[in-house]
Symmetry: C2
Amino acid sequence: MIKVSRINEDEFSVECKKDHRELYGIAYTQNILSGRWKHLILWFLKFNPHRYNEIKTRLGGISQGSLTKQLRELEADGLINRKIYAEVPPRVEYSLTSKGEELIPIIDLMEHFGKKFGDKID
Amino acid sequence: MIKVSRINEDEFSVECKKDHRELYGIAYTQNILSGRWKHLILWFLKFNPHRYNEIKTRLGGISQGSLTKQLRELEADGLINRKIYAEVPPRVEYSLTSKGEELIPIIDLMEHFGKKFGDKID
DNA sequence: CGGCATCCGGTTTGATACTG
DNA sequence: CAGTATCAAACCGGATGCCG
């Protein structure tokens, strides 16, 4: 069995039998991408940095609480940067880290797969 | 907002604004891969067909109920085949469909990413 | 503007017992 | 062997109200 659980902000606990080590990489990646909106947030950031409200507007249905939570988790996993500008009104921009950028090919493949096999919505 | 929900065994309902259509493919793929064990099941089947108990043993910690449910969902989404042999004791083999095989590159990338960035467990 | 704290309800997962 | 059925536990995600 593979069990990946968070100990604190930036540390995972991993339990798995020797036989299953080869599956660990998959479990780890699945773990940091778990969440209703994370794929979409990363995909949106791949083009440019974006502000909090830009992301929220783009995703449409997400609540403030959920968005904040997902952004915090992505940040804790080292996938995005959070930059605060000392202005009034406040401005916060999110951008991909190099680690986060390495997830983009996966998300692009997912988009391609979904376009090929998903229902058409035209 | 993008909302992908299952209407019945083989049909999805998709709600999304025009602006978000480009994100639909991602949401679709995420949807059919949602589940604690699906990535691992697909990855395990990429090499060869396997029997129910082989999968269960391989995954270690999964319960019968959960495994059956995940397999049924994968089958309903057209990702795996279920072949029943009329023997005693019964034998059931699961294998990837061509659609399921197209998910393997994604899962391989996830494995690679996890191996690169995940905690070492040696 | 960009959050945080709290509560609540639906979904998902797992444990257990039983079966063709 | 390969399930089904039932119930309990855990895990989000969303809604709401408040704040610097």
